[in-house]
C-alpha cells in the first residue's frame, strides 16, 4: 500500500480521465458534488470516532462509510483521502481497533487539506459558491 503522505491531495487529471471530459462544467459538477457529499461522510466518521463505539454494527457502519467515501475519492482523484479510507475500511472489517483509532485521527489533517484544494480549484473554474 502506498504511503499516504506521498500521494497527491487532489489529482485533477484523474477526474478528467474518469469523466472523459475536462470542461469547467464537468469539473465544477463533480467537485462541488464531491465536496458536499464527502463532508457528510467525513463528519459521520469523525463522530463515530468520538463516541468510540466498537460493536459489530458500528464497525460495519464504519467500513461501509469508508467504502463509499473511497469510491467517491477514486472518482475525483482525491488520492490521499482514498488511501486513508482504504486503510480505515480494512481496519474496521478486521476489527483492528488500534489501527482504526490511530488512522482515524489523520482525517482531521487530510480532510481540511483536501477541502482547501477543492475550494481553490472550484474558484479557479469559476464556481463562486464555496
Amino acid at each position: 500500500m502506498a504511503d499516504t503522505a506521498t500521494l497527491p491531495v487532489l489529482d485533477l487529471n484523474m477526474l478528467i480521465a474518469m469523466y472523459g471530459d475536462g470542461s469547467a462544467e464537468t469539473i465544477i459538477l463533480a467537485l462541488s458534488g464531491f465536496r458536499r457529499e464527502a463532508a457528510h461522510y467525513v463528519q459521520q466518521l469523525q463522530d463515530a470516532g468520538q463516541h468510540n463505539v466498537t460493536t459489530d454494527n458500528a464497525l460495519a457502519d464504519t467500513a461501509r462509510l469508508c467504502h463509499s467515501l473511497k469510491s467517491m475519492c477514486g472518482l475525483v482523484g482525491a488520492a490521499k483521502l482514498m488511501q486513508l479510507c482504504m486503510i480505515l475500511e480494512q481496519a474496521a472489517r478486521q476489527h483492528d481497533l488500534t489501527t482504526l483509532q490511530s488512522e482515524r485521527l489523520k482525517l482531521a489533517e487530510v480532510w481540511p487539506e483536501l477541502l482547501s484544494q477543492l475550494d481553490l480549484i472550484l474558484l479557479q473554474h469559476g464556481y463562486v459558491d464555496v
Binding site: M18, Y19, G20, F34, H67, S68, S71, L75
Partner: protein, 321 residues
C-alpha cells in the same frame, strides 16, 4: 451503435457515483437511463419499467445489490426479464461476493474506479452479447434466504396472468398421473417450451407476457376514459413491448435450428405486424377504430396462444416443433 432503445438502470447509494453512472449510461447512443440511490427504489423501477441492463453496487442499505440481483434472476419483477445482463460495479472484490455473483450468472464484475469510456464500452458490449441464463426457477431454488426477506407480496405483482406456463418436468409428470381423463386437452391450453429450453425461449415467453400486459393496460386506460396523455403513454409502452417481441424473436431465430417451430411462430408474428403498425398510428380520438383494433388484437392473441406450437410425444415426453 445500438439499433433499438434500451433501458439501463444504475444503482449506487453514493449520490456522486450514481450521478456519474447515470451520466455515462445516458451518453450511450440508444440508451435511456434510470437511476436509483437505494435497493428499494431500484426494485420499484425494475417492477415498473422494462429494464434491459442493470448496473449495481453491492454494498447498500435496504435490499443490497446481491439481493437485487437474486430477485431479478429469480424473475420477481413484473416488467423486467430475469435474463437481462447484470453488471456489478463495486469497490471491493471479496471472494465470497464473487462466488455468489457467479452463481447468479452475473455478466460482469467491474472494480471501481472505472473511466466513462470503459463503462460505455462495457454497456455496449453487454447489450449486444447474449449470455445463456438459466430459468428463473433455477435461481429461485438457489437461495431462498433472500426471498424470505424481500419478496414482493403476490397482490402487488402487476402481471397475474401467465399465458405461457414454465413447466417443471417432475411436477408435470405428477399432474399427468393425477389426471387420467383428459391430459391432452389440458396440455393444449398452453404453449409448451421444450424441456431443455434455452434462455431464448424464456425471452419470448417474457416478451409475450409483457406485450399482453401492456396491451391490457392500454385497453384499461382507453375504456376507462383516462386523460389522453395517459392513453398515449400506455399506447407507447404497448408498441415498445411489441417491437421488443419482434426484436427478440428475430435475434433468436438467427441462432435456432428448429425450422418447424420458427415457421409456425413466424407466421403468427407476421400477422401481428400490421396490427402493431395500426396500434402505433391509430387516432385515439376515434373511439370505434381503437376498439376494433383492440378486438383484432385479442383475436390474434387467442389464435396464437390457443394453438400449441410445440407438442409432446406420447412415448418419451420429448417435444418437437
Amino acid at each position: 451503435m445500438l439499433l433499438k432503445n434500451f433501458n439501463v438502470l444504475v444503482v449506487d447509494d453514493v449520490v456522486l457515483m450514481c450521478d456519474f453512472l447515470y451520466g455515462v449510461a445516458k451518453k450511450v447512443p440508444g440508451c435511456y437511463a434510470f437511476k436509483a440511490l437505494d435497493g428499494k427504489t431500484a426494485a420499484e423501477t425494475l417492477e415498473n419499467e422494462a429494464i434491459d441492463l442493470l448496473i449495481t453496487d453491492i454494498e447498500m442499505k435496504g435490499p443490497t445489490g446481491l439481493e437485487l440481483i437474486y430477485r431479478v434472476r429469480s424473475g420477481s419483477f413484473a416488467s423486467t426479464s430475469h435474463d437481462i445482463p447484470i453488471i456489478i460495479f463495486s469497490g471491493n472484490a471479496y471472494l465470497e461476493l464473487i462466488q455468489q455473483s457467479i452463481s447468479y450468472d452475473v455478466n460482469d464484475f467491474l472494480a471501481k474506479p472505472i473511466t466513462a469510456d470503459q463503462l460505455i464500452r462495457k454497456i455496449q458490449h453487454h447489450l449486444q452479447t447474449e449470455k445463456q441464463i438459466k430459468s428463473a426457477a433455477h435461481y429461485l431454488a438457489l437461495n431462498s434466504d433472500f426471498s424470505a426477506k424481500t419478496t414482493v407480496p403476490d397482490e402487488n405483482r402487476k402481471v397475474s396472468v401467465a399465458i405461457v406456463r414454465e413447466l417443471n418436468p417432475k411436477a408435470e409428470a405428477e399432474a399427468v398421473d393425477t389426471d387420467t381423463s383428459g391430459k391432452k386437452a389440458d396440455e393444449k391450453d398452453f404453449l409448451f417450451w421444450p424441456e431443455h429450453a434455452t434462455t431464448g425461449y424464456f425471452q419470448i415467453d417474457r416478451r409475450l407476457r409483457n406485450f399482453a400486459f401492456n396491451i391490457s393496460c392500454f385497453h384499461n386506460v382507453f375504456v376507462g376514459n383516462c386523460k389522453p396523455v395517459a392513453i398515449e403513454s400506455e399506447r407507447k409502452r404497448a408498441c415498445e413491448a411489441c417491437d421488443y417481441l419482434f426484436h427478440i424473436a428475430k435475434n433468436i431465430r438467427h441462432k435456432e435450428r428448429r425450422q418447424q417451430f420458427w415457421l409456425l411462430f413466424n407466421q403468427r408474428l407476421e400477422k401481428l405486424k400490421p396490427l402493431a403498425a395500426e396500434l402505433n398510428s391509430v387516432n385515439i380520438k376515434h373511439h370505434s377504430q381503437v376498439l376494433l383494433l383492440l378486438k383484432r388484437l385479442s383475436y390474434w392473441w387467442m389464435q396464437t396462444c390457443n394453438r400449441p406450437i410445440i407438442q409432446k410425444n406420447d412415448d418419451d415426453g420429448a417435444e418437437h416443433g
